[in-house]
Symmetry: D2
Subunit: 391 residues, 4 copies
């Protein structure tokens, strides 16, 4: 139902888990939302040409290529969507931006602060030419999270005192789970910290509308050696007899102080047995609280301290009303959305930003700031002391 | 901390499960509530004098007797608290009332409508002399239920459309569970229907402030024969090799129409595997809803339909604020009450009613009305058709 | 990623709420599942040609037509997907089947038993020629429901005693909500009963693997007159000053007896204030229980009565493991599915059945049986007595 | 139902919130549990003789006195139960122990490590003479917590990786809440840290059966000045116009490393708006997890990772079975206990320890260890670095 003629041709780099989610988003967005541009799923790139071709067919891309550089070179490509491991982000994103292509880059923005800084600089250069860059902290766009942000912004919970955030998984509690690329520092940058800790850092800062100033943290690798995976491209792989070092953290915990005085407690772990993908962010303010739990992703809990005590209580708001963020485009109230819808909303907002000539959020600068927090947590774990976040 | 001299000497008849709960209530009430009378736990009666004496010591009664008639005969006894099976209620209660003693009688009021009518008549005669009678629908006095009643009374949920009520237990799903007195019609009157169905009938009518006009129901006995219990006095007993007929229902379900037009759905069962003592009552009105679940007994769920859609949701009200019913006498907010506290509240309200010369609620007339509903459900199950409740 | 050449060209009739859900399913299925046929979204039909054309573009159909008969006439159409109100089902489905086209028909199968019987007869005739017919009870294919069915089938909860089922909505509690086609008997057949009651009848029978033998029910129309809607095609419309009669039920409640002795309690209502689309089915058996709540649609609660009492409890199974029904095609554990995924699973199973030359479930016979239960509830509400379901 | 003649005469010091809870415990224990001694509620002491006398009557103590020293002096007193603010604990407890009286002392054991060390030394001296000392970490004796401990002990959750613990209250979020003794360092020692943080430190160490080795923490006082309370003896008081300094923390957060390698995250706050008395402890191990939430205090959540993935999930164990810790003495399954029952269990275990000549747990040494953790958190907050806990 696009009502205009501006074409937006997308090339996606990488086609594993994130590639599938992004593909579904690009495919679905135009059918539920009025997009101001005509999105084309033009090209998918992967190192292995045969697998890239299969991915193109399965995921619905018009073409495939065995090298991401082809996406940069092709004039018809308007946007590069980066779904590869973190160690590739900087090179691809900077090349794309410098070639005048918009970029959507999976999180964390990079594996190091240095890379992230260069990416943010490239984004700034590109913005001068109307080229946009966005980092994929997709959970911001779960409607319940967007509503939490809105309520905080409206002052409904007052001055913020506390942030408590957890991202709990358990997919490698088994010591025999293989050594995937996500457990190798040179590819993933860090472990639970960068993979899922990055999400709750962004979520927390986004919801409260403030930044972390300082952290003290601890990272831990419970299982230090694992069987080598037969292949390293996906979340899971078959284990081999040979073993390799786990070079990233299994878990990261840290305390944080925010700019306006809030106190934060964060935990990201892949060893929370029984918790599959539990993301909890609770924010306590002087006038109320909001609490989000991804295990109940369509609900926002809201406590309004201005209610009379007799009827005060956390209310479970089903965030499926037409007036709720993003929801009007989908189903009637009580007909729940799932994990992948956040990716669709991400694409919708990005396309609007491009069409409107506006900077999308979260920007590469936002991604850089998260990277600095990640780095400070690691340093803090080494030095056993608090670390300030450079601004 | 009683501030007056009027003595209230209590005799309790029966000392099994309900006897223990009532004893704890009589013992505890004066220490948390300002009672207008000086309560004495004077006498406990049981058929077996030796066991009654042991019960007196264990439960804290000054004296014991092997026959309930002794309680009636003793001039110093002011109140008779009946905790025996249903088939004894009418005889004991009528004798006590006619002897000028206040009566607290466990539910259901009786085993038959006829008995209940004679009891209500005795209560009416006694009331003319300032003698009070109360039936023990104790769940009314769980603070969250009392708050539900208050909100409905204040019009917070508007005109009532729906009542959905469940009382779910599972203690006899095992076909080898023995044949206790609760499974014998001559002692218990009925099974799940009278034992727990009576509670949700009273709860529903109490919360909505209306009466059931007509019902259609079905009762079922899934396990028709069971090992005889070694003894029949308690909830549990040791099974013997001999078997006997189960003469009551294992489960009862029924639809109901209320006086002001609400539609009710009721289920009482001892075969809801995994549900230990789940009592749920949800009432939907034109302006909101209240939902109570005994599994979360200190919480009332309340939906206010006048809230803007953006922030509307069932709120979980922790019913532990000083202004909530009964709560001020206990602990700070969030320090939960348990099952037995309802019995204490029952005693407190009864003592106040006696001191104030007022009729306590639920009255024997209320108990009679519940009995009529129970009877109509049984008749309906036999006739396979709707039954009106006589008024 | 289809691996064969058999084409399946689909024509969809109707393009409102259900049309959008079905479109998303047809579009998404091939990208996540290996389909044995090459699905084409060929044609969408609607009464208003202009709106049908717009729908084709928005929903992703190659062509549009102002009359469903065109779908029947076109030789290239292999399957007709009926998403229109109930009063049209029989005519369209029978024509399509008789023309040798597979049919997927939204629920309830029809508005009357007579229509449903004719449809089932047409399906039987068509099956002789390898033509398949399926009715869209989509909730069967929520993974948690499919797991419930599997556990019951494996005997994990033993002999079934109880079914308690609720479908609760609140979208017309406001008496000023307009008179949409869903509130008109000639279009919708019935109200809450057929629209949502049909779902819980199918769900309950499917999960327990048994059929309802007899029912006693009550239907109620709380608000008897409403403003006329400006248009009748969708769930919502703008109200006009003129008023019309509501000719369907707002709520339906009934008791049921199942073939193998289970006792059922059902409630379907559009007046459960605060409940948006709450679907609860709990089944209690001699060896355990399963409980599904659509408000927590990715979770199945399971109680295993064979567990030692010390650690027995309802477990909340996140139904997102690779081995769970349908889930392997989607995301890693804990990455939740939403409402629309059931429609995708429905399409997948239907295409497999067609390719395999097998009868899909739920069949038109299943739909007819549900129709008979619906009809018996209505008759029972009129006659105030139990009604047997003809077999 | 005591079956012996050994008398245990108790004197309670203090009669505010904790005094009421302890009184209910002493009064109730003999009626539900078989105690090996004959408990007498002999004496209550308070600074104000008139108020102490009123408390004796209200709380059920035989006598009262205006000075705690009278309890020490009286030969008939066997046990001193200390329910006063922390700054008094050392003096009273040491005097009592040295006088040959058993001691039950409210938590935290003391206001400083120095005091706690002297108390532990006194307890050690006294133990040589058969005199027992116990510190009142009552939440250990909530049945669900005791079950958690038992499952961990049995190895059901394997090697422990993570502890996440929160104690959340909100009773002083209002800046106009008065300056009670709990907000004054000279009386309370610390704020949220010692008052409620002490509880989760003890709970966590108790459940995992391990000790904290090192911490890094942060304490915060959000509201630094408050109206002076009219009186300082209770939780709440009336505010005056004059203001005073808040000299304790409003919130304390810290990370912890346990002896066997687990990583802990702790938060204790009085500013978690909407959370009244929320205590959450979740422990993740290599073979499973346990999670306790005091808001659902009769339930333990247990995840057994050895279950097949298809049916694995956190199970909600209602901890009310006869075989569960402490439960057999109370009500049938599903008839919930409340806040105060933990105090009864504490008294029961203490009396048994005394009768058996065994050291009760938690001992004063346990209390001292918690005090060292509290002190290390405070030091860490000042030094901005990790602190080891001396052993």
């Amino acid at each position: 139902m696009t009502t205009n003629n501006t074409r937006l041709s997308v090339a996606m780099i990488g086609h594993a888990f994130m590639g599938a989610a992004h593909s579904q988003a690009w495919r679905t967005a135009p059918h539920f939302f009025d997009l101001p541009m005509d999105v084309r799923m033009a090209l998918v790139c992967g190192q292995d040409g045969k697998r890239a071709a299969a991915a193109a067919e399965r995921l619905g891309w018009a073409d495939s290529a065995p090298d991401w550089r082809i996406a940069i070179e092709r004039d018809d490509i308007d946007l590069v969507d980066i779904c590869t491991p973190g160690h590739t982000h900087a090179e691809v994103a900077i090349a794309a931006l410098d070639a005048g292509k918009h970029v959507l880059c999976e999180k964390p923005l990079a594996n190091t602060v240095d890379e992230a800084e260069r990416m943010a600089a490239a984004a700034e250069r590109a913005a001068a030419h109307g080229i946009r860059a966005m980092v994929g902290f997709t959970y911001r766009r779960v409607p319940a999270v967007a509503l939490a942000r809105r309520l905080v912004e409206e002052g409904r919970i007052g001055e913020i005192r506390h942030v408590r955030a957890q991202y709990l998984q358990d997919w490698i509690t088994d010591p025999e789970a293989p050594l995937s690329w996500r457990l190798e520092k040179d590819k993933a940058g860090s472990g639970a910290l960068g993979d899922i800790g990055a999400h709750i850092i962004d979520l927390a800062q986004h919801i409260v509308g403030d930044q972390i100033l300082a952290v003290v943290g601890h990272t831990e690798t419970f299982v230090k050696e694992r069987p080598l995976a037969a292949e390293h491209a996906g979340l899971s792989g078959t284990a081999s007899a040979e073993r390799g070092q786990v070079t990233v953290d299994d878990a990261a915990v840290f305390l944080a102080r925010f700019g306006k005085g809030a106190v934060g407690v964060f935990e990201a772990t892949r060893f929370a047995t029984g918790r599959k993908n539990t993301i909890r962010v609770e924010v306590s303010g002087s006038a109320g609280s909001v609490a989000f739990d991804f295990d109940d992703m369509n609900v926002l809990e809201f406590y309004d301290a201005t209610e009379p005590a007799e009827t005060a209580g956390f209310r479970r708001i089903p965030v499926t009303e037409p007036g709720h963020p993003y929801v009007g485009a989908w189903w009637p109230a009580g007909h729940w959305l799932g994990y992948e819808h956040g990716f669709t909303h991400q694409v919708v907002d990005l396309v609007h930003a491009i069409a409107d000539g506006a900077d999308p959020a979260p920007s590469f600068l936002d991604g850089l700031q998260v990277q600095r927090v990640l780095s400070a947590v690691e340093t803090s774990s080494d030095t056993r002391s608090w670390q300030e976040i450079p601004r």
